[in-house]
Symmetry: C2
Subunit: 135 residues, 2 copies
């Protein structure tokens, strides 16, 4: 079966290396939402070697740290799900107490109709790329 993350980048690429890429997710109400996507088609973290797992998590945590510094979210949500798209990827989602679903996961019920636009950083992608390039 065709895999959308094999055929396509899966978003606007902020940074990439030989292992993986980080893309910006354009989801209204969720500034800074990123995905880190393993380049090869692998299903689970435990399908990677120990070294690959460590390298991938280092990317995920670098994105988390950068988003915290840039956006000061109330919480960061990290998730590797992939039920619909079983190609290994991590969601890195800055969460705010007044966002559309808080305190629910973004896959749960909405708790409000609109989210303030004030959390959007001016150029999150560029700032993230700078931090990732130091890896």
């Amino acid at each position: 079966m065709a895999c959308e993350l094999c055929e396509d980048d899966g978003g606007i690429v902020i940074w990439r290396n030989d292992d993986c890429r980080v893309v910006h997710v354009d989801k209204p109400g969720y500034p800074g939402f990123c995905r880190a996507i393993w380049n090869k088609h692998v299903r689970e973290m435990t399908d990677l070697t120990m070294d690959e797992r460590a390298r991938f998590m280092r990317v995920v945590f670098t994105v988390e740290a950068a988003l915290r510094e840039l956006l000061h979210p109330d919480k960061v949500n990290l998730a590797s799900l992939g039920n619909a798209t079983p190609h290994l990827h991590w969601h890195v989602i800055p969460r705010f107490v007044d966002d559309l679903h808080f305190p629910n996961p973004i896959w749960g019920a909405r708790t409000r109709q609109s989210a303030p636009a004030t959390h959007a950083g001016a150029d999150i992608a560029a700032a993230l790329a700078t931090r990732l390039s130091r890896l």
Copy 2:
């Protein structure tokens, strides 16, 4: 404010060390659902040192590997959310194509009314504890 994961184990403890504990989550329809909970009250993965992050992820991935071996899930979902309980913990959730929410995250809409009971391992907790004790 009182934190339920500071005051309580947060489930039936399968295994623990100085860093963290692994508990079994009793959620009907989700055999093998575990949480790995950091012992100290910390909000985010990037509040841990690099070494602590690596040790914690090693526990999470050991749980994932054990659950795959025991239950042969169609997918494993990993998530660190903590919006309601901002005390660092990971959900490790074996997913099956015929479970209650598949392909949605377990926090999303239900896709069926009942899940087959056939995935339940006889003594998942004991088997997990054995594998974790080798860490």
